[in-house]
């Protein structure tokens, strides 16, 4: 596939659609969580208002250059992920900048945001940020292991590192999905998925009762607005990868919305009723359950 200039506005359009979808979907999911607790929940457009409010704040203070760059890196992670992953299979407009080895790049971007956040939060000098960051890094590292193993398993299975090709291989019937052709890899990767969605029981990074919301403790106004944008983009970008790799991708926007929502809800269902693991318990969990399943998945292939 050759590069064409028209891809840039197309990719931006994709980004715009995903951003708005994310804003509405996260609000909807908050509403679902609230309903479990018996509440009515926030208005569906609340995320837009919060974002606007944060941008409209009049004062902001900085703790240094890295403090600026933290949210920027984080957002880059989210946007980069979306840009290099084909959103809609078979659509010229929304396949973005997918290329031959993009799976590796995507895996890199998954980690990139956390890393950038770590630098920024460390600059803010708040001890809770530092604790949150160290927790976040150790947990992401542990959760990454099953994911990496699962991804290796399927790249061996399909003999390619191109996400578009992987999606192509899963078309046709629902039983062509990796979910059915390689269930162990899917399970291993889902461990990582639940583990990195910042929901209970793996929300040690934010953990309000322990370290008041962790890394973003010092972030406010526009910085926080950037991070909020990323908070709606990044989980969806991540879910897109999972959808492409394990659940057959999407061929149209409605299919995309439904699938993303369904996959996202997996973490929500678990998150709503579970208390929180301690960081070493969650690492233990990944090493004990995620890792063997991942190894098995590779062996199976």
């Amino acid at each position: 596939m050759t590069f064409q200039w028209i891809q840039i506005p197309y990719a931006l359009l994709t980004l715009f659609i995903i951003l708005n979808y994310g804003m509405l979907m996260t609000a909807l999911i908050q509403k679902i969580g609230a309903r479990v607790g018996g509440r009515y929940g926030i208005p569906i457009w609340q995320n837009y208002i919060d974002l606007l409010k944060n941008i409209a704040l009049r004062s902001k203070i900085s703790h240094g250059v890295m403090f600026y760059l933290g949210p920027v890196f984080r957002l880059t992670g989210g946007i980069g992920l979306i840009l290099f992953v084909p959103t809609i299979y078979g659509s010229v407009m929304h396949q973005n900048f997918s290329f031959a080895g993009d799976l590796i790049l995507a895996l890199y971007f998954v980690f990139f945001g956390t890393l950038g956040m770590a630098l920024g939060a460390a600059e803010s000098g708040h001890p809770h940020s530092a604790i949150g960051v160290s927790r976040g890094l150790s947990q992401v590292t542990a959760a990454e292991l099953p994911l990496a193993l699962g991804v290796f398993a399927i790249s061996l299975q399909y003999q390619t590192l191109n996400i578009t090709d992987i999606v192509a291989a899963q078309q046709g019937s629902i039983f062509n999905w990796t979910l059915f052709t390689n269930p162990l890899a899917t399970v291993a990767a889902m461990f990582a998925f639940v583990g990195t969605m910042m929901r209970a029981p793996f929300d040690v990074v934010l953990a309000p009762q322990e370290i008041p919301i962790g890394p973003p403790t010092e972030y406010h106004s526009s910085y926080l607005a950037l991070m909020q944008t990323n908070r709606v983009l990044y989980p969806i970008a991540k879910t897109v990868i999972y959808m492409n790799l394990f659940f057959g991708g999407a061929t149209s926007w409605p299919e995309f919305f439904v699938k993303i929502f369904a996959i996202y809800m997996v973490s929500v269902f678990i998150g709503v009723v579970y208390p929180r693991f301690r960081v070493e318990q969650s690492i233990q969990f990944f090493l004990k359950w995620g890792l063997p399943v991942g190894v098995l998945a590779i062996l199976m292939v």
């Binding site: 929940g41 926030i42 919060d50 004062s59």
Partner: protein, 230 residues
């Protein structure tokens, strides 16, 4: 009620000694470097707050105010007994989330400081710091009779009587203690004030900074923090 002892005079002479960890000292770092530390100067910025203008266009400002009013982030700081009615406020019966109200655990991200009830001098010191760390524009709501004029604790030696001497208050909610319905009504009223563009407490604070500081320092005798906590 017992009569007041007219002969009692408050001790205004004694200065509170500077705490040990706040005194200047020299420290040897792990790598052998010797560092002079003056905690009251080194760690803080001494700049005074400044007045932040509204945006130039009234329409933009009105739009912003609408957003501010519909996204009130309360600092989760229960300063007094009124905090017990804040929990029903956020739970199924009253559910203030419907109105865009939610808790933030850190002052940096909060816009609304609710002083929930009486303020002892010790808490006042923390409340001032929390208030100053919030970003403009920020709002203060005084909850309960005790923030208005002392209420039940009008003769207590340890609680302040008027909150607006120390922080710029946008709205008071009276009662001991105010019910969640009263809280909701008060917050709705606050929204109207914000939308009208009258909730300029932070600018008021910056304009009358010296007056507020003098009031605060007359009560807090161990003032070992910068004048403005950035």
């Amino acid at each position: 009620m017992k009569d007041m002892d007219k002969s009692f005079r408050k001790d205004t002479e004694t200065e509170f000694p500077l705490r040990e960890e706040m005194r200047p000292r020299t420290v040897t770092a792990p790598d052998g470097q010797v560092i002079e530390i003056d905690p009251l100067r080194d760690y803080f910025c001494e700049e005074a707050p400044k007045v932040h203008r509204k945006s130039y266009s009234a329409i933009v400002e009105g739009f912003y105010n609408w957003a501010r009013a519909n996204s009130l982030w309360i600092l989760g700081f229960g300063t007094g007994c009124g905090a017990i009615e804040m929990r029903p406020l956020m739970t199924p019966r009253f559910d203030a989330y419907r109105y865009g109200i939610q808790w933030r655990p850190t002052p940096r991200q909060a816009n609304l400081l609710i002083i929930s009830g009486y303020l002892s001098v010790k808490t006042l010191k923390r409340a001032i710091r929390a208030y100053e760390q919030m970003q403009q524009p920020k709002f203060v709501v005084g909850l309960g009779s005790c923030t208005i004029n002392g209420g039940m604790y009008w003769d207590s030696y340890n609680t302040i009587k008027r909150l607006d001497d120390y922080l710029p208050v946008d709205l008071y909610i009276a009662g001991c203690m105010p019910r969640p319905e009263a809280l909701l009504a008060g917050l709705m009223e606050l929204k109207k004030i914000i939308r009208r563009g009258e909730a300029e407490g932070a600018n008021k604070y910056a304009e009358n900074f010296d007056w507020y500081k003098a009031n605060q320092k007359s009560v807090i005798k161990d003032w070992d923090m910068p004048d403005y906590s950035w």
